[in-house]
Symmetry: C2
Subunit: 202 residues, 2 copies
DNA sequence: TCAGACATGTAAGTCGTTACATGATTCA
DNA sequence: TGAATCATGTAACGACTTACATGTCTGA
């Protein structure tokens, strides 16, 4: 028992700043998609349970006569629980790579089939890499200039919160570093593909 | 709908050779743990459903008065379903890296906390890398000599099946390549850790 | 005016993990 | 004789996905 990844992910995002369920979903989709995912079916019930446990509070936001919107704010207790979780040892993620499985199982078939699988993987990963590299370029320039790129800016200050230039620069730096992790991982996969094609006598 | 990863994983392993649920679990744990996992709670019901769907047959194995043991054999229809699945495009795995999440969320805390997280990741990954490298060494020697390493040999010919020297050498090669994938991935992560520590001013 | 984004939520179903239950055989 | 391994299975729970349902507001 006791995993509840969604719970801590949501709590952690709230530790950043107050947000609605919709905001959380968008932030994850736009900014964290290379290492995290969430869906509404998990987010809304989780927010509800956070309130029940006293880790967050909910209040309706009706600034400038906007539509119905519930903003969740982390409580002091929530902050504590979040920090405790962060300090806990992180279990290594269970690995389940479908392509590796297929490749492994392809050994009873003609080599052409194994080669086809690798080439598919290769072009798929290349697309993701191109995308990541574009994001990286934008972010790098932002870090250099001490600014936040526009798309992120919208996401990261939906709510009014005083942030020092320094804390935002740090956010940006860490954002960039997580992206680098994704890029490195894909590069390694692409190098592996080349290695495989060579080894199978392409 | 329609994912059923366990179903195709089990079917694919049976396409290799007839096995019992216990064999499958062991093979996955010992040999494929760097890219796959399964547990009994999924394996046994899956085997049952494969039989129901006519993709495998079950028969009791009582060779040499051994204990109760059910061996599952893939049917012709099963082979076809397996091959169809292999040919289907492989969706990229959903990513959920808890350490990346923690690292990202640590940006509102002192930098020492971010550093601690990375160091934890680093030593964890290093252990796995050492382990993989040991396996690689054994496998490389086996490939060079055209042999199968002992541990694998037991697993891979539990059942009597005529295999040419060539097909076994290919199995071994592909086995080695999947291991290389795991090694590359970890190396990339460790390089990233170094990059991060440097960037955070260690 | 109408498409698209904003916004919240539920229901049903699948998938996956963990813990438990049971018992046979082997080997030191 | 007792621990380890072989071997099969189930029940309960928890996690996750998908599809659906509903309605508002903004801007071209």
């Amino acid at each position: 028992m006791a995993k509840q990844k969604t719970k801590f992910a949501v709590l952690g995002l709230l530790s950043w700043k107050p947000m609605s369920g919709y905001d959380i979903k968008k932030l994850v989709d736009v900014g964290l998609s290379h290492f995290w995912n969430e869906n509404y079916g998990q987010i809304y019930p989780t927010l509800e349970s956070l309130v029940k446990e006293g880790l967050a509070t909910r209040k309706e936001d009706r600034t400038s006569s906007k539509r119905k919107r519930f903003v969740y704010t982390i409580t002091r207790k929530g902050q504590q629980v979040f920090r405790d979780w962060l300090a806990e040892p992180t279990g290594s993620p269970i690995v389940r790579n479908e392509l590796q499985l297929k490749f492994f199982l392809s050994c009873s078939l003609p080599t052409t089939e194994s080669v086809r699988l690798i080439k598919e993987y290769q072009s798929q990963q290349q697309l993701v890499l191109d995308d990541h590299r574009r994001s990286e370029k934008v972010l790098r320039e932002a870090v250099r200039d001490g600014l936040f790129p526009k798309e992120l800016d919208e996401l990261l200050r939906i709510t009014s919160q005083k942030q020092t230039r320094q804390s935002r620069s740090k956010q940006c730096k860490i954002f960039l570093l997580t992206l680098r992790h994704g890029i490195r991982a894909i590069e390694a996969r692409l190098e592996w593909c080349a290695e495989v094609l060579k080894s199978l006598g392409k």
